[in-house]
């Protein structure tokens, strides 16, 4: 198995585990039972039945997931198991905003809306790297270390050629994490609006 296949299956497998950890209420279970459930889920996701493991079927649908998705899915698994959030809410909120902005810039144009193709910038644009550097430095200045860590991890994976893609965008973002970010942002907005509406006047 090539390294990029292993990385691709790992990403989809962790995504599958995060789905299991989210769908099954783990918190009421004793710690040992929680780990047993996740171990059983890991077997189900990574051990082949027939030709392929479940992660490979998921990979057929989603393609390789980004490093951002891999980290968020891994963090979700750990949070469900331990009850401790690895990513601060403030980091998470800014990360979602950045992902939503990037998705709005990337996908409509990449799908053929105009002659301009921002996806091509990911193959080696100094301008694109400079913008990413500015975003990372801004996050660092604001002490949003989770955002900085995710960018570093994605860039390292890109430099190592960990995924099938040689496009930096594919390490930073994918449609799944974009939709997740958008849903979380809209859900947060809805809560804020409903909170304002239900506040007593005066």
């Amino acid at each position: 198995m090539s390294a990029s296949d292993a990385f691709g299956l790992l990403g989809c497998g962790v995504l599958g585990l995060a789905a299991v950890a989210t769908l099954i209420p783990l918190r009421p279970l004793p710690p040992g039972a929680r780990y047993a459930v996740m171990l059983a889920a890991a077997f189900a996701v990574f051990i082949p039945f027939g030709d392929l493991p479940a992660a490979a079927y998921l990979r057929g649908i989603t393609g390789d997931v980004s490093v951002t998705t891999l980290i968020l899915a891994g963090a979700a698994c750990i949070a469900r198991l331990t009850g401790k959030a690895l990513i601060e809410p403030r980091d998470r909120q800014v990360l979602y905003q950045l992902l939503a902005l990037a998705a709005a810039f990337l996908y409509p144009f990449a799908l053929g809306w105009t002659q301009f193709d921002p996806y091509a910038l990911g193959y080696g644009s100094v301008g694109f790297v400079t913008v990413l550097l500015m975003v990372t430095l801004s996050a660092w200045r604001a002490k949003l270390y989770a955002v900085v860590f995710i960018v570093i991890a994605a860039a390292l994976a890109y430099l190592a050629g960990a995924c099938e893609s040689r496009n930096l965008w594919d390490y930073l973002i994918d449609p799944l994490v974009s939709v997740c970010a958008l849903v979380r942002l809209l859900s947060g907005l809805r809560h804020r609006l409903s909170g304002k509406l239900t506040q007593p006047a005066g």
Binding site: G8, R59, G63, G112, A120, R166
Partner: protein
């Protein structure tokens, strides 16, 4: 230093190192230097007109489509196509056969890729296989690109590549090309690959999800997509075929899927493929069907196309002596009234190869039940009828 201090300054140092790596990598990328001149076919010497045709073997598939071919050692031709119980069925496989010009016969077909094999090699689920495209990389190895779908219809396609070191007798494992950020779906291939001067391989591709438009991928020696250029955009152009004419200039033709009048689209570049003109409609009709083109040894352009606006019942050849500005229809391969035809009158998806001896081969889908091979020389093209 406190834990917070380590986190703050450690993350900054890590970011500095990583971004230094990104800048070094991006600044070290070579520029393409334009198209590499193709291996020239021998210019046609005075010869009597030559024409022959035969159907390729097909012992099992009820439906076949989308032939492609490349010249291999000994002046032979290796063809590929997909076949199965019907288009898009799980039993569709990619078949190959070899044409021997000495014996003037095709070898029995054999499957080189099945859905199950693709699934194992690509390590992901695969629902069906589609268009194959054959060509050579800069090292001279035979490459076979093929479409596969994991979810949905052809709009869910992705492209895969496998390489042979022995002219197609055996193949290395197939690998996935990544050409779209959107689940890497909706990238298909139909036109032949070409070479860039820096050793990269160019692969014309098209997208069918939401929009219908063409792009030119650049692949490194390992088959990774390392750059791409948009050929067109919008909803109506697909299946690009690119014909380089020099290091800087190339002309491209595309299938048209828009509003009438239905015409073959043409695009041009004069900077080695970095920028492409907006597509213009040629005078030749196009019933939303694939076309094929090749630069002949004498510098003229040859085009195989369906010479009708609404159906694929007429397959003809046209010649251009002014790089695609004007065309002269010189031969009709299929669709002559009164001539025996296929049970289903569809002649489509042509593929052109000019071999090193100067003979021209056209392969195409013949009634969806067989692949037909016609071969001729330029004297036959120009013969007065």
């Amino acid at each position: 230093m406190t834990r917070g201090g380590w986190l703050r300054w450690g993350s900054l140092a890590a970011a500095a190192l990583v971004f230094a790596g990104l800048y070094i990598r991006n600044l070290a990328l070579p520029s393409s230097g334009g198209f590499a001149p193709g291996e020239a076919a021998r210019a046609a010497s005075p010869a009597p007109p030559l024409y022959a045709a035969e159907l390729l073997p097909n012992s099992s598939a009820a439906s076949v489509h989308s032939a492609t071919a490349a010249e291999i050692s000994g002046g032979r031709l290796r063809a590929f196509w997909y076949g199965g119980s019907r288009e898009g069925a799980p039993d569709v496989a990619i078949y190959t056969s070899v044409y021997s010009p000495k014996e003037e016969t095709w070898s029995p077909e054999r499957a080189v890729m099945t859905r199950e094999l693709a699934q194992r090699q690509l390590r992901r689920s695969v629902r069906k296989l589609g268009n194959p495209v054959a060509g050579r990389d800069r090292a001279g190895r035979l490459c076979l690109f093929f479409v596969s779908v994991s979810v949905g219809g052809w709009a869910g396609s992705a492209i895969n590549l496998m390489v042979s070191e022995d002219e197609g007798e055996t193949w290395g494992p197939s690998r996935r090309l990544v050409a779209s950020p959107f689940f890497n779906i909706s990238t298909l291939v139909k036109g032949p690959p070409l070479q860039f001067a820096d050793g990269a391989t160019g692969l014309p591709v098209y997208h069918e999800f939401l929009g219908k438009f063409g792009e030119l991928l650049r692949l490194d020696a390992l088959g990774h997509v390392i750059q791409k250029t948009r050929l067109t955009w919008g909803q109506s152009s697909l299946q690009p075929v690119i014909v380089p004419r020099s290091e800087a200039e190339a002309v491209g033709f595309m299938r048209y899927a828009g509003d009438p009048p239905n015409r073959i689209l043409m695009i041009r570049t004069s900077d080695g493929g970095a920028h492409w003109s907006a597509p213009v409609k040629t005078a030749l009709p196009n019933p939303n069907a694939a076309i094929a083109s090749a630069l002949l040894a004498d510098g003229r352009l040859l085009l195989a196309f369906n010479n009708a606006g609404e159906n694929r019942e007429d397959l003809s050849l046209a010649i251009s002596e002014d790089s695609g500005d004007t065309w002269r229809v010189v031969r009709r391969l299929e669709g002559d009234p009164g001539s025996p035809g296929a049970p289903v009158a569809e002649y489509s998806y042509p593929w052109i190869v000019q071999d090193r001896a100067g003979e021209i081969h056209v392969l195409y889908t013949w009634g969806r039940s067989r692949i037909k091979h016609v071969h001729f020389n330029t004297a036959w093209l120009e013969e007065r009828r």
